[in-house]
Amino acid sequence: MNKILILFAHPAFKRSTINAALRDGIEGEDGITIHDLYGAYPDFFIDVDYEQRLCEAHDIIIFQHPFYWYSTPAILKEWLDLVLEHGWAYGSQGNALAGKYTLQAITAGGDGASYRTGGTNGHTIGELISPYRATASLCGMHWLPPFVVLGVHRGLPGVIVNGHVERYRQAIIALRDGRVNYQEAARHEYLNSNLKAIIREP
């Protein structure tokens, strides 16, 4: 069984719909730690030591956040800057993260069509999150495609939201139980492009 760390970053959790729902869906599950960064560090004063211990104690690290300005909310950048220390995460002595798996769980306002070359946003999600991919590679981590929820807005019908919540839950549980076919997953644009194809039934 893999231990999963969800680094959750939403600056206004009270006003979140989709991220709150996704998070609620997995709350309380065994082997899953949800760590709310804005809640823990409202003043951005990140406890580097604690964060590093947390990472060391888990096998899969997931960054869950809304897509803000084609990137992450600010605290995640601060987290990367401070926690991924030389000699710990990278450098000749830094291999604390090596061999672990990592992915992002992103919700975005723009829809699938907009995140295409030639689409209104001009770039694919994969292109835009390439810094995370490079980071993972530098730290010797296995990068997995992001779990993506696109075209999000407050008016989204309940069934659709529930569908996303359910799929997120499936994916996380499967990752935890080691039922994800990593090679297969790597071939898809998003982790949730076709969940059935990458998850083995228990």
Partner: protein, 617 residues
């Protein structure tokens, strides 16, 4: 009575005229006093006659000075200095004695030569320390070495007094009555040692255990003059004790100072004794100037000149050599040599003592005393030469780096008031590696906090002399956390007036207090309870279910806006007090609107903006 007052008046007037004059000519106060002495002395205006008695009395200034020096030297620091004291001091006294004795043997019997050698090896504690202090050199590397030598010399006086009578060549002329302050009783061997040890032990116990509860009691009366009286009584009492057991009172006072250096009453004692010391020493220097016998000097001009030059040159050579042997940095050797190459005030006493004991003939002592006095007159001039010509070639950095190294307690921050706020602030600064001089006026809390390991000093920070002895002249910053507004305001005024270079940070009682401090030109201040109020407010929002980040942001927003409006409200407060309250309310209202607005962003609109497949729609 009248006569005494008149004498005192002449001395004081001479000092008030001569010292500022000497200062403007950048000659240093010691030279000013000496010149004043010559002017009012028998060879000048003949305003005073009997100087010897005055000299004896005012010699007590030296005792006080050593007490003050001791106060600045903690026992641990003194222990660190044991090598320079014994090593450098010991070899200076030894080699100077040998050199002078050898030269003396060419002219006089060896016993006399040795007596003169021992006496002339000593330097002038009064002049040297005063000058070093004035020039801010006492805490530098060479300053410490010089001080070590002086301390050793002070110690050496005791055995010298014991040895001198053994050198008598002629029969003793009359009763061996000698200098009041450097007396030795004629107890035999170990008994004397025992008495001496008991006396020193008593000083230790007095300083360590008896003085503190005593001073606390006295401090509680809040009557300054009683504290001054107690401080004076302490120094005088110790001197009397030392005389009784045959030790140098200067040494005893120094020891008492060292023992009290750790005490919370250090700065208070310092500022109480300081003016007395200054006055006594000043008069002491004047009487040296007045005692210069120009008739004698005129008659034996060549002899005396020769002795003075030989003395200064010989001692300088020895000192320089010692400094080389002890591997003192090159930059410090000149100062070391120049500072200590004169004869000292001990010589007056010792020569007198030697004469009475039949060691030296009367005419010779007179000549020698004149030579010593002249060399003391030259001493400040030599300092001047050093400052003008040698000092500038030596980088000051070389001196001050040593300073950091040796003197760990280089306070540059004064923390006035160590109440609840001050304590937390002090803890913070100390953790950050900044060690402020902490002053507090509450004797009970000073005691308590001392038990917790804080280096707090008892004293009223709104007193100028206390600020001075806490180091305000050299400090960079004063942080004012007094319990009440009025004293804090006084302190700010005082600091702005006397130490304009000193940066000020104030904990203000409330908004009004802030305005008053702004009136006084303070720029850095915090309302005492403002930040804890907001922090608690943030906690409250959280407990009510607000996101932590949101609660934090609201707190910051409020603080920022509140601080932003401060200058505006201050302006209205000072210019148009009638509309102040309405203005204050209006600001609060605007702030409330702003904070709610921050929460009511139209999320639906925002969603639409991003969700629309095309941002340009």
């Amino acid at each position: 009575m009248e006569h005494f007052l008149l004498q005192l008046f002449i001395f004081l007037i001479a000092a008030t005229i001569a010292v500022p004059l000497a200062r403007t000519c950048r000659l240093g106060s010691v030279l000013g006093y000496l010149i004043a002495g010559i002017v009012i002395g028998p060879f000048g205006l003949s305003l005073i006659a009997e100087t010897e008695e005055i000299m004896h009395f005012t010699e007590f200034g030296v005792v006080m000075m050593l007490f003050l020096v001791g106060l600045e030297l903690k026992p641990s620091l003194l222990w660190q200095m044991r090598t320079p004291i014994l090593g450098i001091g010991g070899s200076q006294v030894f080699f100077s004695t040998v050199l002078i004795t050898l030269i003396g043997i060419l002219f006089i019997p060896w016993q006399q030569a040795l007596a003169i050698g021992l006496t002339l090896a000593l330097s002038s504690t009064a002049i040297v320390l005063q000058t070093l202090r004035e020039k801010g050199l006492l805490n530098t590397g060479p300053g410490r070495s010089i001080f070590s030598v002086l301390l050793f010399q002070d110690l050496a006086v005791i055995p010298i007094l014991a040895v001198l009578p053994l050198l008598a060549v002629a029969g003793v002329h009359g009763e061996a009555h000698h200098g009041a302050f450097f007396d030795l009783t004629a107890l035999p061997g170990y008994a004397r040692l025992l008495v001496v040890l008991v006396a020193i032990g008593f000083i230790y116990i007095l300083g360590r255990y008896i003085s503190r509860p005593l001073f606390r009691r006295i401090a509680a009366t809040r009557m300054r003059e009683i504290f001054v009286a107690a401080a004076l009584a302490l120094v005088i009492g110790i001197s009397l004790l030392m005389i009784a057991v045959g030790l140098s009172p200067a040494l005893g006072a120094f020891l008492a100072g060292v023992v009290l250096a750790d005490s919370e009453y250090r700065h208070e004692l310092e500022s109480d004794i300081e003016p007395f010391k200054g006055l006594l020493l000043g008069i002491f220097f004047i009487s040296i100037g007045a005692s210069l016998n120009f008739t004698l000097i005129g008659e034996q001009i060549w002899l005396i000149e020769g002795i003075v030059l030989g003395l200064v040159a010989g001692k300088f050579a020895v000192l320089f050599l010692v400094s080389v042997v002890f591997k003192m940095p090159k930059a410090e050797r000149w100062l070391f040599g120049i500072a200590l190459c004169q004869g000292g005030e001990f010589a007056f006493v010792l020569f007198q003592f030697a004469r009475v004991n039949g060691v030296l003939p009367q005419p010779l002592t007179e000549t020698l005393i004149s030579a010593v006095a002249l060399s003391m007159f030259i001493a400040p001039l030599l300092f001047l030469v050093y400052e003008r010509f040698i000092g500038p070639r030596i980088s000051h950095a070389a001196l001050s780096r040593e300073h950091d190294h040796i003197d760990g307690h280089d306070h540059s921050v004064i923390l006035a008031g160590f109440g609840k706020l001050g304590t937390d602030l002090g803890r913070f600064l100390i953790s950050a590696g900044i060690k402020p001089v902490i002053l507090d006026h509450n004797e009970t809390s000073v005691e308590l906090l001392r038990n917790f390991g804080f280096e707090v000093y008892y004293g009223d920070a709104t007193r100028l002399d206390l600020l001075e002895s806490a180091g305000a002249a050299e400090a960079t910053l004063i942080i004012i956390c007094l319990g009440e507004h009025e004293p804090a305001r006084q302190l700010v005024t005082l600091v702005r007036k006397h130490y304009p270079h000193l940066k000020i940070a104030v904990a203000a009682e409330d908004r009004r207090a802030v305005y008053e401090f702004m009136d006084l030109g303070v720029v850095t201040m915090r309302r005492k309870t403002f930040d804890s109020a907001l922090a608690l407010g943030q906690d409250a929002l959280q407990l009510l279910g607000y996101d932590r980040y949101e609660a934090y942001r609201l707190m910051r927003l409020f603080r920022k806006k509140d601080e932003d409006t401060l200058p505006e409200l201050y302006r209205i407060f000072t210019e148009d007090r009638d509309s102040y309250i309405s203005m204050y309310r209006q600001h609060n209202h605007e702030l409330a609107e702003l904070m709610v607005k921050d929460q009511q962003t139209d999320m639906d609109e925002l969603d639409k903006a991003w969700a629309g497949g095309n941002p340009h729609e």
